[in-house]
Structure formats: structure tokens, C-alpha cells
Subunit: 229 residues, 2 copies
DNA sequence: ACTTTATTGCGTGAAAACAACACAAAATAT
DNA sequence: ATATTTTGTGTTGTTTTCACGCAATAAAGT
């Protein structure tokens, strides 16, 4: 077996967060070193020899941003020989989501001076091929939210229905009929309606709170049903 | 930058073929060397330093099996530290399809003595974690065929409608109502009906020949429609 | 306090998609 | 010629989706 191969393996983490005020945002870091020093980039780094890819993602995220991920899946592997100007680096990109509550917690973190959330419609110039990587990640988020209940991973544990609606309209970039949307979601029976009401912030009638019921969802999947918006 | 990392990068190619007689099959090779010498495995090999991942896949496939792929996409990257007993190998797995005409051409190939097609329901024992890899690939094929027109990549350029129907019943493992299926497909207007008829092999009325119209399909996609069985 | 404004919650009818179903036509096999 | 195999097509009842309007609840404005 040849051992002449000279490719470094890294992981990247494209992490999305959401809030009603800031919309759908992605976590970026400002690069401290060359190449692309000072530019914004997707967080990530090299994989250690004995470490799984997922462990590497979580470690790097913690080191660079202090953020703890709520949902993680593999996105795509970028392996073009010239992605990095110095040497060949293969990046296994992961796709992560954080709950609304976690979102914005950056300020509290110590290492996070150079990390920031950016609305996905107002992205800065990015290092390497990260523009392309991010485009693919956003595509995945947009399409996946239609047939997998990952939207709930972006909201708080308890949320008013309007938050869910707002998330979908924002992400899919089209208006949604609240009544039909409610019907569709509620007859899947994957949401529990809580007795409490949201405490109103701002004008308008306060909404009931809901909660995603994961075990109910898993049941449905076992029966071959599937969520689809 | 540390260069102490010691991970080898390989590609694997899970290639599917189809024929009415043999059903949906996958291309495997018999390993010539340790570890797992003599066992069946997914074709693949190490990526060369200046070579793209896709190029590596095509090269290895040609070397090991003589098969030329018709459709190729990335499947998943397997990076667990202990996948290979000798040293850490990260495998970027690709998912490929060959046309029915190409299928079975193995015998003609010179290097292909140790390559064979296996019906996906009659798989042999596999080397490494290839059983898991294959399971994921089959899942992908099954689910993707429902919402992307990749089924046509498995058939000949011109095919009778019954072939399409047979492919779907086989792959989805459930009966399909011919009339409803025809209605659904034909009102998408992605098939051109050819004036010729299939020359009959065996009893029964010969069917008309059809052909997938890719540009028509792309139009539909642009308009936001989507294929779904 | 009462009026205005913002937001939530619910129901109905029309249109489209889906599922179930049977028989005639064209070819080969005997 | 007659039987057998396989293709091709149309109708109807049911279910799902889509479009749409109005009353209820609370905060904000006066």
C-alpha cells in the first residue's frame, strides 16, 4: 500500500440559527491567520488522528465559537485538489442547527470575539470556496425543512404557532396560508398543544404554546407516513 | 499548520444496474489482497494527489471493472477511525448508475474477471463496513427514485413502458397500478413516445417505445414543479 | 374607558389529485 | 384456429389541497 498520499482531512460546520427578529442566520468566524486572514469563513479545522468526524466538528465549534449544536448531519465532502492555495485539503462539511434560545448566546462566550451570526440574505465575502459550501447548505436546509421536522430544532422547545409559520415563510421565501398550514401540521399530530399561553410581547392576541413530540413523530415514520409541506 | 495528520483518503463506488431478468444489481469485486482477501467488496481505491474525487472514482472503476458510469453523485463520507484494521482510511462513497445496455457487459472486459453483478436482494458477505455502506446506498436509490428521474439512467435510452413499471415495482417492492402510474408519468410530459414499437421477445403484444426528455424535465424544474411518485 | 390596531383561531366550498377497478387489442405458443 | 401472454386505455368515488372571510383576544392610542 502506498503511503505517499498527501491530503489533509478537515471538517467544516455550517450552523444555522433562527429568531423572529434576525431571521435565519449562519455562524461564521473571522480568520486569524493566512490565507484569507481577516475574512469571514465557516468554522472548522483538522481532524485528529483518533477522533471521529463528528467529534472533530463539536470540538472545533466549541473552540472557535462556544456554541453547542442541537442537530448535526453530514452535508457534503469537498475534495477538489485546489480548494486551499497552500496544499490539498479535503473538507467533510456538516450541517448543524441550534435552538432559538442558544442563538445569540455568542456574546456570553469567551472565545467568541471573532464569531458572529449573519443573516443568510446578508452574507459577507467569504474565504476559500465557502460561498459555494454555504449555498449548498442553505439549499439543503430549504429543501429538508419541507420533508423532515428539522424546523423544530431551530425554535425553542415551546413556541407559539406563529413562530413556526414565520420560520417557514422566511425560509421558503413565500407566503403561507396560516389556516391551511395549521391544518396540515396539526393533523400529523406531532405537536402537543400546551395549556399555557405565550406571554405577549407587543400588540395582538397571545398565541397558545406548542411543543414538538418526537416520539409521536417516530411512530408515524415507522408506519410509513411522512411529513411533507 | 500541523502536518502530523495520518489519514488516507479513498473513494468507493456503489454502482447499480438493472435488467428485467436480473432485477436491480450492484457491482462488486473480489479482493485480491489482505485484509479480507477473497471476499467481495465495493470497488474503490486511494485518491491520487492531484486528482479530483470524481476522477478517482472513474479511474478505479475502469481499472477494476471496466464499467463506464452513466450517472454519478456523492453518497456519503465514512470516516470512523477504525473502519480499516490497518490504518485510518476515510472513504468518500459515490453512487453510480449504468444503463441497462452497459449492464452485463462485464464479461467482455479484460480486467473484470474478479468483478460481478449481484442482485441487491442476494448479496454475499462483504468486506470492511461495506454492508452498511451498501445499505445506505440502496436506501438512497429507493428514496431518490421517487422524486428524481434517475430511474431512466438505469434503462436503455429507448424503453417500453412496462420496463419502467417493472423497475419501480422491483425497487419499491410493491405492486403498482399500471394505469394510474402511466397517467402520473405521462402527464408530467417528460417522456417522448416514439413511433417505433419494441420488437417482441416472447409472447404478448409489443409495447410502444419511450424516451426520457431531459430538457423538458429541466423546464419543469425551473418552473418549480417536481416529479414525485 | 373606549376605540383602534395587531394578531390568533377557526370553517366551508371548489378544484385537483388519487385510488380502485375491467375489458379489448396485438402478438406469440400450441 | 384457439389459447395464452402482454399492452393499452377510461370512469367513478374518495381524499387532499387550495382559496378565502370573519369573529375573538389582547395591547396601544386617545
Amino acid at each position: 500500500m502506498k503511503t505517499t498520499q498527501n491530503i489533509q482531512v478537515a471538517v467544516d460546520a455550517i450552523v444555522f440559527g433562527y429568531s423572529k427578529e434576525n431571521g435565519v442566520s449562519v455562524l461564521l468566524i473571522k480568520r486569524k491567520y493566512e490565507p484569507f486572514q481577516g475574512q469571514w469563513a465557516i468554522p472548522g479545522g483538522f481532524v485528529k488522528d483518533e477522533e471521529s468526524l463528528e467529534a472533530a466538528v463539536e470540538r472545533e465549534l466549541k473552540e472557535e465559537t462556544g456554541v453547542k449544536i442541537n442537530y448535526l448531519e453530514q452535508l457534503y465532502t469537498f475534495g477538489e485538489p485546489d480548494r486551499d492555495p497552500r496544499k490539498r485539503i479535503l473538507a467533510v462539511a456538516y450541517f448543524g442547527l441550534v435552538k432559538s434560545a442558544q442563538f445569540e448566546k455568542l456574546k456570553a462566550s469567551t472565545d467568541a470575539e471573532e464569531a458572529e451570526w449573519f443573516n443568510i440574505k446578508k452574507l459577507p465575502k467569504l474565504a476559500f470556496d465557502h460561498k459555494k459550501v454555504l449555498r449548498i447548505a442553505i439549499e439543503r436546509l430549504r429543501s429538508k425543512i419541507k420533508y423532515q421536522p428539522i424546523g423544530f430544532e431551530l425554535l425553542d422547545k415551546k413556541f407559539p404557532f406563529s413562530d413556526l409559520e414565520h420560520l417557514y415563510t422566511t425560509l421558503l421565501d413565500r407566503p403561507i396560508d396560516r389556516r391551511n398550514f395549521k391544518k396540515k401540521i396539526s393533523h400529523l399530530k406531532i405537536l402537543d398543544e400546551l395549556p399555557e399561553k405565550a406571554k405577549s410581547k407587543g400588540a395582538g392576541r397571545p398565541g397558545n404554546l406548542f411543543q414538538f413530540n418526537k416520539s409521536r413523530y417516530n411512530e408515524l415514520v415507522r408506519k410509513g407516513l411522512h411529513f411533507e409541506l
